[in-house]
Symmetry: C2
Subunit: 280 residues, 2 copies
């Protein structure tokens, strides 16, 4: 493809009701689809999270930790976890197609193998062909096979960074259920403020502090999420985190308009200058 | 894996109501699942057809014929066709899992690329790993990307033969809606009789006669279906065609018991002798 793709993540907490097992947020999926349709960005790769579809089952059967030899219930648990994700993916893709977006479900468990939890093999040819032909591949966090662990869970976040690097993406947009990265956890302390812009260097320092003190991630897990994006940011792919639960945020982000959120960039001066006032 | 897998096809005409668009035959899917569960064959690969899910949409949008450049409706038609197959596959896999069969949906469009309609690339590593870990991969005839045509339809029958060869299968069982290969079309002339056993050489002669005379396939399309299996039969993989609409036929075939049907074998005398009275 001639134009670099956008990799868009729709968080599991956005598109599902996390409090209720196997419950989608259909009105939100429909609203976000209309925002994607209006923004009309192409080429586009979509990745969504598991929310109340994938997480409870993955946890119950300890899928992430790998295969316990001879445990038939865990083997069936892998199947149930994957199937729950297929169910959510089908809901999302159905709505996209109904809105004339040429969405094609791509099951990570059908095209990815991991090694100790990290993607080692992926059939990239297929994704490149899909994009070349004008399709919007829709992937998701999934239960996948792992050459060391037997199987494991591949997070949507890891997938986003991997795809962005391999497909030479122009940018990553992460649509989640908070405004971005805060100095602390705003759900715990409302005085914590949003970080509008962070460089790779600053991010590394924040992560190192957490590493040294061995304290819990005070940003409510957000820093860990962002850490997954680092391989892409290192390659110069800017990543914007926006609150997709609020109408029009995703639309504005896709259009490259100013949005409340956190922009993560590699941070060399030239790169920052080049992107000023432009679509990220 | 140490034991050679069985590749089992469930015909689209068996698991769907072909007369009604997008209508599954759920009682049949449930009965066949119970037969598969009782037979308890492992390793097992399942492939199902499209029936009233895949065929009407594929035909409407001429997906098999390939991409007509710039036709956005056809691009969306590809998505709809694939999504209809995902819907049917989800129904099948749900029932399998409910019956404690560790079924994992594997979307051909996520792991196969064809060239002029024939499989050119497939992520086989994934299937081998699934089988090794005790899973039952469930694939299906699907809309897939094609390096010459843009996209096309990959038939479940082609997939069956390809998988059987690459996975070094012990045998192929084709569960369809007629008793097997007849001397003519039994739906047209009831005096036509069932061919219980046919060798590759005999099959080639039958196909050549059709080729020479350019007449329609008098076997009601069955010969064309069997022709797809030839690459596997050539490798010495016996293929048994049984009527899966009749209770217990599939069970008996899986158990290697005598069943009404057509057995296709490569036909060297040694091979025939070796298989007599044994599980095919």
């Amino acid at each position: 493809m001639s134009v670099k793709p956008t990799v868009l993540k729709l968080g599991g907490s956005v598109i599902t009701n996390k409090a209720k097992t196997l419950t989608p947020s259909l009105p939100t999926i429909e609203r976000l689809t209309k925002e994607i349709s209006r923004a009309n960005v192409s080429p586009l790769v979509l990745v969504h999270g598991g929310g109340s579809f994938g997480h409870p089952l993955a946890k119950r059967y300890a899928i992430k930790e790998g295969y316990r030899k001879g445990d038939a219930s865990q083997v069936l648990g892998f199947c149930e976890t994957h199937q729950a994700m297929v169910t959510l993916n089908k809901l999302v893709v159905d709505v996209l197609i109904q809105n004339n977006i040429p969405a094609v479900a791509v099951s990570p468990s059908s095209c990815v193998v991991t090694k100790s939890g990290r993607i080692s093999t992926m059939m990239q040819e297929l994704l490149k062909r899909l994009l070349k032909n004008g399709f919007v591949p829709v992937l998701f966090g999934d239960a996948v096979l792992d050459s060391d662990l037997g199987f494991t869970i591949l997070s949507g976040d890891q997938l986003v960074a991997y795809l962005a690097v391999r497909l030479k993406a122009a940018r990553i947009i992460m649509g989640i259920d908070v405004n971005g990265l805060f100095t602390g956890d705003p759900k715990v302390d409302s005085s914590e403020h949003l970080i509008n812009h962070i460089t790779l260097e600053e991010l590394r320092r924040m992560l190192a502090r957490i590493g040294e003190s061995k304290v819990t991630d005070v940003t409510g897990g957000m820093l860990g999420k962002i850490a997954e994006l680092m391989p892409a940011v290192e390659k110069g792919i800017p990543s914007l985190i926006v609150n997709a639960t609020k109408p029009n945020n995703l639309y504005r982000a896709l259009k490259g308009e100013r949005t409340v959120g956190t922009l993560i960039e590699r941070g060399e001066k030239t790169v920052v200058r080049k992107n000023q006032g432009k679509k990220i």
